[in-house]
Homo-oligomer: 318 residues x 2
């Protein structure tokens, strides 16, 4: 039975049309060697080649386009030090909207610089979640800016769906699509796309064992959190939210947990064999496939490479 | 007037057909950001995604396929510690031919391992050119193996042509194609392809200032060599040969020399902005475009990304 909050196929198609001028239809790459290693046919949707280097551009663009003219004139605000901060900054810049980015004062300079490149307005605060939320709330009140959530907002989730929609256009016969799961926005969006645009494609997530809140949430039936998050996959340390969890619960087949060394090995394989730059989070789905080879044997398996923003000075596998 | 040694269009088309089962038709990538930085429309033919990670697979495959059955049964030999060694090993393996690879005993273990992965038979020798040639000659005499040259052999040059042929199939309206120049095999092959498959496309090479033998050869009209080769572009330290120089003299428009810091900056741009892994030699053409921006302004410029085999532990730009 369909989830009552489920967006229609039409809504997703309209979302794709709406954001197309602001995103790349990224290439789908294959690798004979990785097919041999994994025993299945892998199709990598390369969102590391997306504008600003990650799928987050899709959701950010959709969220900002969806605002009223009055809302747009007051700007948007988010608190993030990662890819969503860059995505909101770039999408806002392209749409002529002011972007306020709340970042912890100890965020790496490289991340601050990336936001500045896209003309985001950085507001520094203490590094606690409370301080970040307080700073964002202050901007909302003072400027009338609209808060954008990186993963738990319908417009963001629907925007994220478009990566899997494009993948299924190129490879309609997929048996599986795998994504990483952190905040749940990409996983939920992918599950919606597979539900509407494929008859048989199951959606599976890879998750670091060290931050396995989503895995535990599917078991307990409620949103679980992590006490510690000792993973190199810095995009996957957050937990699910009330907008994406119902979709994940209904339309995601399973979550496969992987160890840190498995993430590093998968990352190294993709760098060395595919010659593409991916961030650690993006290696998690391949690590999941390699861990459960028999499940995927001879199947057509799509993998969303979520992003390629990585500190080249500090690679985890060399 | 046509060079009398010039292969016909038909020969190049047959070459492409012949090697197709053994190579990838690699993707052509674009980057809006690099277009903005350079002021022209760049089309990157990604031979870093080629089998074994470099365009050398094309020439090696063609050279081995072109042998007689008797020659094939006696194997092939080359002396190289770079991409050609891997290419010959892999092409020979796929064609069921024995490959003898003469390598200096002090070659990096990672390069020896790559050859072993493809089942090449490594013969170690002292690291001088004389020792390498003597070792290769010994194999020729003892085993009857055919010597394959990495850049100065017609079959290798014609095989290399197929990269630019594929690029021109996808982008027929190119004004320029740029390649790096080392031994001259890729540059000559690209010039042949542009001559036969484009009406207007000029071919230009980028060359490190620190190993500018090809630039000086075009001026003097004879093959020049380098006294020193202090460049990070380890694939570009060799000099032209008597088979490729006549083609380069007749069909290459010019050679643009670039400094080491320009190569590093171009390499960094491609890694960080395009999220693809390229070796230093592959950054030389973009460095040449960025050095001579006015020449390429608003033009359609193809660049052959020659390969992606790089030591991740020792990146020159981080």
């Amino acid at each position: 039975m369909d989830n009552p909050n489920l967006p229609s196929k039409k809504i997703l198609l309209e979302t794709h049309q709406r954001i197309k001028p602001f995103i790349h239809n990224t290439p789908v790459l294959t690798s004979q060697l990785l097919n041999e290693v994994s025993g299945c046919n892998l199709f990598f949707k390369c969102e590391n080649f997306q504008k600003m280097g990650a799928f987050k551009m899709r959701g950010a663009a959709n969220a900002i386009i969806s605002l009223s003219e009055e809302e747009k004139s007051n700007g948007v605000v988010t608190h993030s030090s990662g890819n969503f901060a860059q995505a909101v900054s770039l999408a806002a810049q392209k749409l002529g909207v002011k972007a306020y980015i709340v970042m912890p004062e100890n965020a790496p300079q490289v991340k601050k610089n990336a936001v500045k490149t896209y003309k985001g307005d950085i507001i520094e605060c203490k590094s606690t979640l409370q301080a970040r939320e307080a700073a964002a709330n202050k901007i909302k009140e003072e400027k009338g800016a609209t808060f954008l959530h990186p993963s738990n907002q319908d417009e963001v989730i629907y925007g994220n769906s478009t990566a899997a929609m494009e993948l299924l256009e190129v490879q309609p016969e997929l048996d599986f699509i795998l994504t990483p799961v952190g905040g749940g926005g990409l996983l939920a969006g992918t599950a919606l796309a597979a539900h509407h645009f494929s008859k048989k494609c199951k959606v599976i997530a890879g998750e670091p064992m060290e931050a396995d809140d989503a895995y535990r949430s599917l078991i307990s039936g409620k949103i679980e959190t992590n006490e510690t998050v000792n993973t190199i996959s810095d995009g996957l340390k957050t937990h699910l939210g009330d907008r994406n969890f119902p979709i994940i619960k209904d339309y995601v087949d399973k979550i496969i947990r992987v160890e840190e060394h498995e993430i590093k090995e998968a990352m190294k394989l993709i760098w060395e064999r595919m010659k593409i730059i991916i961030e650690p989070s993006s290696a998690v789905p391949l690590a999941a496939v390699l861990k459960n080879k028999s499940e995927f044997k001879n199947k057509n398996v799509g993998i969303i490479i979520s992003g390629g923003n990585v500190d080249l000075k500090n690679l985890p596998f060399v």
